[in-house]
């Protein structure tokens, strides 16, 4: 009944288009990138020669180490706050029996579908020296000089937190699916008050979702460059902005490629750590 040859033929047709598309749009770029990072040619063109110079620049220049640690700090702080703020929303959305629930869910996710560039501009208007917050503070005579909320690390972090929150909300929401009301009732029956129910039941059970959210946010945060550039006032040096400026300002593509691969290495190690954590959690 199962004809091996025809089965293999079918499989080939199922896989071929996908492999072709991903081959051109993903595998080849990554291979080129790898090649370019070892090249002397300005654009990683075929006429370049092999060199390790780009990597030695990246590895031995303390500036790039600083950029790397900046990136990590940036990623971790964005991740921490994005998850912290998303959790109550996700919890609220799973709990609420309000008939506005659909709309509220849509609202929580709508920002996801709005250009990050545009939202960043919104943040500039809010956080700028003459923005909504400083304006109100000064109008209320709480401060006389503006507080620097934008054009620095703080501003880039605040905006990025908001921009990535919808992803975190979605991930935590799907993680909270494991929770059922009966578990909480069972805990209450056994004498757990509300706080203890949260701490001992809800939180541990939602941890996998939280971890997924954290990973997602972290990955997106450390590779972002639009928000750090626009909100950072040029002061935020992270790998994303460096890759972009090496590629477009100084036109050193091999270095950009090497930096990009460095970014990838940071990613992969974080993902491996994440997998470990998840497995530890499930074991």
């Amino acid at each position: 009944m199962t004809d091996k040859a025809s089965h293999r033929g079918l499989l080939l047709w199922l896989l071929l288009p996908g492999l072709l598309a991903l081959g051109v749009s993903f595998v080849m770029p990554m291979l080129w990138l790898l090649r370019a990072s070892f090249s002397t040619s300005a654009f990683g063109g075929p006429n370049g020669e092999w060199t390790l110079a780009n990597y030695s620049t990246v590895i031995f220049d303390p500036f790039y180490w600083r950029v790397a640690t900046n990136t990590l700090t940036y990623g971790l702080s964005v991740t921490f706050f994005a998850v912290l703020l998303s959790y109550p929303i996700a919890l609220f959305l799973t709990r609420t029996t309000s008939r506005w629930r659909g709309l509220l869910t849509a609202l929580a996710i709508a920002p996801l579908l709005t250009s990050g560039v545009v939202r960043t501009y919104g943040w500039m208007v809010i956080l700028g020296d003459r923005g909504v917050i400083n304006g109100s503070l000064q109008a209320l005579a709480l401060t006389d000089a503006p507080i620097r909320l934008a054009n620095n690390f703080l501003g880039a972090t605040i905006a990025m937190i908001e921009i990535l929150m919808p992803y975190a909300i979605l991930a935590i929401l799907s993680g909270l699916g494991r929770l059922n009301a009966q578990l909480e009732e069972a805990a209450a029956m056994l004498g757990a008050n509300r706080f203890k129910v949260f701490w001992r039941i809800i939180l541990p059970l939602s941890l996998p979702g939280v971890l997924t959210a954290a990973l997602l946010v972290f990955v997106l945060a450390i590779s972002g460059f639009v928000t750090p550039r626009l909100m950072g006032g040029g002061r935020v040096f992270v790998l994303g902005t460096e890759v972009f400026s090496e590629a477009t300002v100084t036109l050193n593509w091999p270095l950009a490629a090497a930096l990009a691969l460095l970014l990838l290495i940071i990613f992969s190690s974080v993902i491996i750590l994440y997998r470990r954590a998840l497995r530890a959690l499930e074991a």
Binding site: H7, L11, W13, L14, L15, P17, G18, L19, A21, L22, V24, S25, F26, V27, P29, M30, A36, L85, P88, I89, F92, G102, L103, T105, A106, A108, I109, A110, P111, L113, T114, S115, G116, V117, V118, R119, Y121, G122, W123, M124, V125, I126, R130, G131, E162, P166, L173, G177, V219, I222, S223, V226, V243, F244, A260, L261, L263, L264, F267, I271
Partner: protein, 264 residues
């Protein structure tokens, strides 16, 4: 009930409202600013008008880029769903050597930052002469969207009861007929969700597009980004509001159709 729980309930509500406010603040600001009459973004507006909206509808660059993005998004949607469906079928319904590798290939683009992919894509597409062309940008967007469609389609494929397919087969349907008459209609919600997600990602993708397109195939996000390099005026806010409304409609339709949580 008692006092403390009332207090707890109200502080909980306050917290949720505050976070929502934080989440929606930039959108709200953009909405308000879009009615300003000044030529730059500032808050609060001096006076209100719909002038910026009129300007957006007269802006040939935006209109052109909008239609291009729409076209690209639609093609990417269909392409990603078709290819994603085939891949999902292979991955969920067959055992084969190299399955692990294909599985990895399908999630890897998730974890490679777009900016990294963008640099690599320029190098490859330039080589094929595909920079700033429709095939080029569509291929690039397929790469980032296929992982999503594979995920949604696989999810609906694995929720299809295999026995329903077996029942069709027992009652006389050949494998191809089973696919057309049973499997495909049953995974339709997943296909629609996949299409919408792929469309939205393509429609909103900035990072990679910035590397790949300049004039001929420029998309709306790249035009917005480029416009913002030289000016910020309420026009951009008005355009954003229009786009937000479009995405809200899409989100709500999606929620109605299949429930968002299943889709993403």
């Amino acid at each position: 009930m008692n006092q403390t729980s009332l207090l707890a309930r109200w502080s909980w509500r306050l917290l949720i409202t505050a976070i929502y406010l934080f989440l929606l603040a930039p959108i709200l600001i953009v909405f308000i600013v879009s009615f300003d009459t000044r030529q730059y973004l500032a808050f609060p507006p001096e006076s209100y008008s719909l002038g910026s909206y009129a300007l957006v509808f007269q802006n040939a660059t935006f209109i052109g880029a909008f239609w291009r993005s729409l076209g690209i998004g639609i093609v990417v949607g269909f392409g990603a769903v078709a290819i994603g469906t085939l891949l999902s079928l292979a991955l969920t319904r067959h055992r084969f050597r190299g399955e692990g590798a294909v599985n990895f290939l399908v999630i890897a683009p998730f974890i490679v930052p777009n900016i990294v992919l963008g640099v690599g894509l320029v190098l490859v597409l330039a080589n094929f002469g595909l920079l700033d062309t429709y095939p080029g940008i569509i291929l690039a967007h397929l790469g980032v969207t296929i992982p999503y469609t594979v995920r949604t389609v696989s999810m609906s494929l694995s929720s299809v009861d295999r026995r329903v397919e077996e029942a069709a087969m027992v009652h006389g349907a050949s494998p191809l007929k089973v696919f057309w008459r049973i499997t495909l209609p049953l995974i339709r919600p997943g296909l629609i969700a996949g299409w919408v997600i792929a469309f939205l990602i393509s429609f909103d993708e900035t990072t990679i597009s910035l590397f790949l397109v300049s004039v001929k195939a420029s998309t709306l996000p790249t035009e917005i980004y480029r416009y913002l390099e030289y000016s910020t005026d309420p026009q951009i806010a008005a355009l954003s509001v229009i786009l937000i409304l479009i995405s809200l409609v899409v989100v709500i339709a999606l929620e109605r159709l299949i429930g968002l949580r299943k889709a993403v």
